[in-house]
Point group: C2
Chain length 250, copies 2
């Protein structure tokens, strides 16, 4: 078995921490990384404070193969991500000529204000990430990918950079939901987990319309093992009088 | 000015990192803390791995006044939060008699399985957090509040423990949205930020129906200062031909 390829997401933005905005970017990047066989191992949200961004970026880029950031790359005074990443890497912030070209082509004459030109500033050595929505690019430096916070732009950027990433073995997933309570099946489920140690088995209670149920999520890179474990879970659910509702999504 | 009361949220759960589930708990706790005058300074999501939980809890509880965790306190083998928090605090996991009573009263005779009884296990010295939805309690140890991951339960737990928290000065907020682009007003906005250094001014572009606009969010604990800064932003928006759409939410 090869070592898994790992990643972290760093969301930069006071608006998430104040509760003003519900983050949607962690879930999007998480789902995208799943498809590439990259394991998202951690996510953090930090405020628009240089020291906080520097500390988080340096902790995460050391620990994981890839780091994806969202937020703080616009034209206003509170957009300090590019400058903070430059500090984290100990390099200068430079005005990237290709970014200037992209912005110049996008804005009408006279509209490329000094504030907008700041969006062409990236840490020295960075490679641009295309922004098909509003042109101001993201960038990659080392293993850190810096993207916009606006979900529509983040999605376009992430989809465009997927080809730069080296994935690993894809985690296959098989979900079996049932109307049984977690506590009723917990001992038997644990026994199945012990039998199939290479399969990650998660149990997620849900509460809808006043009723509890449980989704059992099996994950593994090995299709045969996953199928065998799913068989065992299915039989267990049936033995408790449950009706398995299955979603294989390998 | 008094020192602000600070907090962090720690979401524990593979299902968020795999993209299977969109977290809703960070935003809920964030909004609730705002009302209490507590500043949420960081959020993290970590997997169901003891070492990761221990490391994150210890980093966060040292750094912030309060830590709120969500997830991993159910009856199944993958629910390892209570045991991990005990490790983080260097104390034993004990079966709490009041938790046993609550569970005993809730389940029909014979239904309180050994797995369900595990939900009465908390770190020694912990104080219970009531769970009005499904009875299995959360707990508080030191400055760490451990809650369920199911949003309906987390919300009930959080609402119930609010009276245990000592808040600080409430951050007042005033939002001015306009159809102007961030880049057009950035220089003037920065000048206003320099004039009002004790007001946190955030600029958040939005993209809806193919059009960009900007929400300018002003935050301060000082009502007069906030009103003065809002006046300046409003005048600036009007001077650029924009129509300010205001949401004072002090």
């Amino acid at each position: 078995m090869t070592e898994p390829v790992t990643a972290a997401v760093l969301v930069i933005g006071n608006e998430i921490l104040s509760g003003r905005t519900q983050d949607a970017n962690i879930a999007y990047v998480a789902a995208g990384l799943e498809k590439l066989g990259i394991r998202l191992r951690e996510a953090r949200v930090v405020p628009d404070i240089e020291g906080e961004i520097v500390q988080a970026v340096n902790a995460l880029r050391e620990r994981y193969h890839y780091v994806f950031t969202s937020g703080g790359i616009g034209p206003t005074h509170d957009d300090i991500t590019a400058a903070s990443i430059a500090v984290a890497f100990g390099v200068k912030l430079i005005r990237h000529p290709d970014a200037v070209s992209a912005l110049s082509a996008h804005y009408d004459p006279g509209k490329l204000t000094p504030a907008r030109l700041r969006m062409a500033d990236v840490p020295e050595g960075a490679i641009l990430i295309d922004n098909p929505v509003s042109r101001a690019p993201g960038f990659q430096i080392g293993n850190v990918f810096v993207m916009a916070g606006v979900p529509a732009i983040l999605r376009a950027m992430f989809d465009g950079l997927a080809s730069r990433l080296s994935g690993g073995e894809r985690m296959l997933q098989h979900t079996i939901s049932c109307g049984l309570a977690e506590g009723a099946i917990a001992a038997e489920l644990e026994a199945i987990q012990h039998r199939f140690e290479a399969v990650e088995i998660g149990s997620y209670p849900y509460f809808r319309d006043g009723r509890f149920g449980t989704s059992l999520v099996l994950r593994s890179t090995e299709p045969t093992l996953l199928a065998d474990a799913a068989d065992a879970v299915r039989q267990m659910v049936v033995s408790f009088g449950g009706t398995p509702d299955e979603q294989p999504s390998g």
